[in-house]
Symmetry: C2
Subunit: 294 residues, 2 copies
């Protein structure tokens, strides 16, 4: 792939009151983000509550997206399950349907695992994928998984699977780690998950982001992810978001932007943000982004 | 169910070099434990590396056990997945085939979740199970999941789902929690996962255990789980085991007891214990359990 990865929106998953996925709202939101210049949409990442979307549901969502005319090569699919068999089944299904990349998290039930164990787990998934294995972006998000992916593990994976492991999404929020990753593996697709480090990482060779904030600020995040432009407003607003569980907070902002309250619902074990929290988020957003436009 | 739960062995999952599950070794081990007085076998718990066994594999293992003549009502099935849809699919399959209980862990990808979110997650699983929902033992193992189940959450679950939520496996290793659980919900099946607290818990009304140590010391753990007998040797040996990741350590002991090296293998992300570690475990075991028999 010679084109830069650019900005992929970590698409939120819309759910109805009864818990069903609201496909139409998701497709509308995906189109809006693509129209605003996102290079792709990422389904079932952390912001997309991927861990809460079952195997059958995932297939229904992907089918609906393709049927709605969203191009397969603009769809990244997150795989956040522990069993190598299930990870390969989910990834294989998406790759067969043409997804451009798989965002593959390490297994996270067991803690304190070794690089050797993680290497073998990824190897097992790739073996099960067989000839379907391609375009894997490994996913480092230790604040959630508690399972960090070391720079040396990534070196071992890329040298053993050079045609398969093409990138890393780094949501560590740990700048020294990000910097060492860019230094050691900057020829891979390095994506910076923490928007506060995004522009700086892109200037050091990062290829962009899979970003939750792109759900409601796609143009602004794009300028960071494509051109490495600093944006203090985004940095400040991410600080506000982090006062809340991130996924419901992102959904509050989508609901506000679209006027569609379907976005306020989350899947358990997450819960929606209180009315007071919604107001505080909105006020912080307006102070940063509306005041200057007025 | 009027009979006491008693002792269920948290059966280890035997895997061949290529990663396939060694069904015959597992069935032999299950029979050995049942013959030694275990009331049931628990498949796919934490010791059984349940998080590493895929949906299709689980069905093959359960089918093989039933075909081998192990009674369905002597089989407990662990379900350790995040998506309510997948949890209901796995639990429903086992319940339809007659499993006596489901050991159901909370979703563990997201951390810092609320009781409200967990209550809704369990509710979603039970709703998806529909009329199949029965005999659920909820699984508290916060050292692994990082998602504790509070005593009040268990109260809410049992009062809302009195015909479904029948017990708690408490692997917190936190005696004050165990004591408060027995005080508040001692009429449920309370199972004590930490063998060092087992006898004491049983004397306070606990109904037994799902125990990894029962893989190689079934008679000794049974005396604790059925009669509340203290056994300082078990307490000391659990202390030794906890110097290592527990699942590979249990497998070292099964390999030694059976002479079958298939038990030394683990699934990634776990890795086997070093030769030196194996020797230390064996020496500790012999010092505690063989010396007195000599």
């Amino acid at each position: 792939m010679s084109r830069r990865f650019g900005l992929s929106v970590a698409l939120a998953t819309a759910v109805e009151d009864g818990g069903k996925i609201a496909l139409e709202a998701m497709i509308v939101q995906a189109r809006r983000c693509l129209d605003a210049g996102c290079s792709s949409v990422t389904l079932f990442g952390t912001t997309g509550e991927g861990c809460s979307v079952g195997t059958q549901e995932r297939e229904r969502v992907l089918a609906a997206f393709l049927e709605a005319g969203i191009a397969a090569d603009q769809i990244v699919v997150g795989v956040l399950v522990d069993a190598a068999e299930d990870a390969a089944a989910q990834a294989g299904h998406a790759l067969e349907r043409g997804a451009c990349n798989i965002l593959l998290a390490p297994p996270s039930y067991f803690k304190n695992v070794t690089d050797e164990g993680l290497f073998k787990w990824f190897s097992a998934v790739f073996t099960l994928l067989g000839t379907r294995a391609r375009d894997i972006i490994v996913y480092n998000i230790p604040s959630v998984t508690m399972v960090p992916l070391s720079v040396s593990l990534i070196g071992r994976l890329r040298s053993t699977f050079p045609e398969i492991v093409v990138g890393v999404k780094d949501s560590s929020g740990d700048w020294p780690y990000t910097e060492s990753l860019l230094g050691a593996h900057g020829d891979l697709i390095i994506l910076i998950g923490d928007e506060r480090h995004l522009a700086r990482g892109v200037r050091l060779g990062g290829q962009g982001a899979i970003s939750g904030v792109a759900n409601f600020l796609p143009l602004e995040v794009r300028a960071m992810a494509e051109e490495g432009h600093d944006d203090g407003r985004i940095e400040d607003f991410v600080g506000e978001l982090l006062n809340y569980p991130v996924t419901p907070a992102v959904k509050v902002m989508i609901a506000r932007m679209t006027g569609d309250d379907v976005w306020l619902a989350v899947r358990p074990p997450l819960v929606p943000i209180s009315g007071e929290g919604c107001e505080k988020l909105a006020a912080a957003f307006d102070a940063l982004f509306r005041a200057k436009a007025a």
